[in-house]
Symmetry: C2
Subunit: 463 residues, 2 copies
């Protein structure tokens, strides 16, 4: 029996004890946004540090202006093969309102047998993020128990403010740059592809947010008196915005696609094999005709193609009835999703140049900046990615999906920008886990196979 | 001395008495919107009917569900040369709030000498519309006094609800169609061109109002998750609206300009002679570059060219900050100003077809209709127009302006649609008369030369 096989057997045998520990953690109501639970947050941090210390980590609770961090290092880690990994998670949870909608006490976790054979672990934080973070801790526990140590060097960072905007995180990363700038971050905050298919989220699009305000006349005008002769800023704005995309859905800003790489053939091939139903994806929101770039699949569009969306527009009279006004001002909020190879400030400048070129000299335009962050992507040929993919495929019996995500996961950008560290995002949650909602649950199979997956990944990364 | 010269001399000699009558009328606070002044409104109607009876008209106060009408006919009018004219005015006035801003009692009219030599008649209704309507009544009085009768057949209609939306007017016109369907309406509700130049308003643009609501997805979407793949209704709407005009400012709807006539050369020539400063017109509202159709003067554009304006647009997130949403809906309010030769319902149908052609099959579009009225224009070769123009030019010593107006004057449309009668709009008010505001005034020269102008017009129409 290989070292890994022994670890996996140990995980199976120890599952009830692992569940007991998860239950113990869920029972501490670590609601970070509620000052009444300040002590509970600290208690959870201390509980976690004690558990890590118990399995041989140098673990400490570190004060911040808010809730404390927990940092742990493996005293035996030095000299291990493979990358030095920093596992990140958070021990705080969302509030539980409305409490009346919960079927049982959110802080008294239960196992609930489901008709499909699955078992749910219920309770606030069961999935987000106590269950998820313990998959990693329990994997480390099993490795240490069976083999006396981990296959690679592992450190851990847990925060207690993720559900309240992580105000202390960036200052903490900056203050502990040397301690925490390791080879790779492991983040366990994402979903499975579907019930049977694990996923690695390897691409996160970047974002440029811009608000543009066009002012024409110095006051609102009567469209009968001035219509046609006086510039209407809504006309200007619609022409500007309509001009951002061509008939094929491509963004028209000069240079917008410079540096944008085509999808690697192996990823494209994998996505074509993924169980993804474009029609169902659109039908779920009442649509049937894909928009966006002609000739690109929906997955390609939302994960790896840059785009432009108008998120808000307003001008003139918008109340009941009708008013024949030519407004003085019209404005829009526009966002660009960026992919690897695009620089946010270059895109912003191109957008502003496009707008300015269309605004006549007697009108003015103001811009308000709303965020700018580059895309993040784990290189397709990264050994960490390849090894993790293999480990997951072995555990789940089917090829793990290499996924993108259109949304943002701030910690990943922070690790990259502040610590120069790529992140590997592997998660075992499911879409239907009701995180942030009443009756949050984590599937027992997510927890069990999640622990086993991390055990395999730690092994794979050492090879 | 011609009959007209004698009438003009009589007007000059009688000016103080004419002013006394205007003062008497202003002193009755006929505020139509205020139920407390219901009896004052009736009293004003009765005062007016009595004045008309005193100069030989068959005048009657006619009840309506609201304030009464005054209708007067000339018992000697039958068989007179020229058109049978219906003069229209209103005896009710606007409220006077805020009273504290008035320099003197709004219902105690005064003459106020101005530094530039002008004299103001102050008081609520001095201009709108008591002073204006009396210019016509006093002209009739002078004709009757000097020559024992009027040169043409004249009837009059005065309402007491103009400042409260004229609820009784249309039913009254319909109920008295035979009595009131005469050859031409004379309306005295418009402005001079400038202090020295009288004006005939001969063109009123029509209007089609449309509200369009586009629905794409069945709910608001996260633009990171769905952007590019899910249709954004703001994109659709901006493309639809931007597509309504071409680069030269022309409306692109098929058939939009069908039936639209070029400006008659003599009108164009007159407009080129008018003291109108395009640059100042635009500078007054903070602009300097004419918008709209290339190669058309501002006056031409606002008076005689059809156009399209977006009067309101809204979609997505419009609050503070930023939200990366793809909204389910976006909507706009669009108006078309029409000129002679355009049919409102044809234009509405063309607009809706343009929108529908651009909305994909999985999105829906709703339209809400907000009014539709054709343009009204007095034919340039109308004898009534020509004769009035000559009469005004003789009185004021300079060529009267043949003006258009972009705004709407509902009575003119009602006369046309319900009674089949064109209107001749001649007014002696000035832009700065503060109608509807505190310290309303009417220039004594407007009143005096207004009376003389009508005396000349009555004479001219008989020739």
């Amino acid at each position: 029996m290989s070292a890994l096989d022994q670890v996996l057997a140990r995980i199976d045998a120890d599952l009830d004890a692992s569940l007991d520990r998860l239950f113990a953690m869920i029972r501490i109501p670590s609601i970070s946004t509620d000052p009444a639970h300040k002590a509970d947050c600290r208690r959870t941090a201390e509980w976690l540090a004690a558990e890590l210390a118990a399995i041989g980590f140098d673990a400490s609770v570190r004060d911040t202006p808010g809730h404390p961090m927990v940092v742990a290092h493996d005293p035996d880690g030095k000299g291990k093969p493979g990358p030095h990994a920093l596992f990140y998670g958070h021990y705080d949870v969302q509030p539980v309102d409305p409490l009346a909608l919960w079927h049982s006490d959110p802080f008294e976790p239960r196992l609930e047998k489901q008709p499909d054979g699955e078992t749910w672990i219920t309770g606030r934080g069961a999935s987000d993020d106590k269950g998820a973070l313990l998959t990693f801790v329990e994997a480390c526990r099993a490795w240490k128990a069976v083999n006396g140590g981990l296959p690679i060097n592992v450190s851990m960072l847990f925060e207690g403010e993720e559900e309240s905007g992580s105000p202390s995180l960036r200052p903490f990363l900056e203050a502990h740059r040397d301690e925490l700038s390791l080879d790779v971050a492991l983040v366990c905050d994402t979903d499975m592809w579907d019930r049977e298919t694990p996923a690695i989220t390897m691409m996160l699009r970047g974002l440029v947010g811009e608000e543009v305000v066009i002012t024409a006349a110095s006051r609102d005008l009567h469209s009968g008196m001035f219509g046609n002769a006086a510039r209407n800023p809504i006309h200007l704005l619609t022409a500007i915005l309509a001009g951002l995309r061509d008939a094929d859905g491509r963004v028209t800003l000069p240079g917008f696609y410079d540096g944008v790489k085509e999808l690697a053939p192996e990823i494209r091939a994998q996505w074509e094999r993924l169980p993804f139903d474009e029609a169902a994806f659109l039908a779920d929101v009442g649509l049937s005709i894909p928009a966006g770039e002609a000739g690109r699949s929906v997955l390609e569009q939302v994960w790896t193609r840059p785009t432009c969306e108008v998120n808000g527009i307003v001008g003139g009279y918008i109340g009941e009835g009708f008013k024949t006004v030519i407004p003085s001002k019209a404005s829009a909020k526009v966002s660009f999703r960026l992919v690897e190879g695009q620089d946010p400030e270059t895109i912003r400048a191109a957008f502003r140049a496009h707008v300015r070129a269309m605004v006549p000299a007697d009108c003015t335009v103001e811009f308000h900046q709303h965020g700018g962050s580059p895309a993040l992507a784990l290189p397709v040929d990264s050994p960490v990615l390849r090894k993790t993919l293999d480990a997951l495929t072995r555990e789940w019996g089917r090829e793990a999906a290499l996924a993108g995500t259109g949304g943002s996961i701030p910690i990943v950008g922070d690790f990259k920008r502040l610590l120069g560290m790529d992140s590997l995002l592997v998660g075992f949650a499911r879409f239907d886990n009701r995180i942030h909602s009443p009756n949050e649950k984590y599937d027992l199979s997510s927890f069990h196979h999640g622990i086993r997956s991390w055990a395999r990944i730690l092994d794979a990364l050492s090879k």
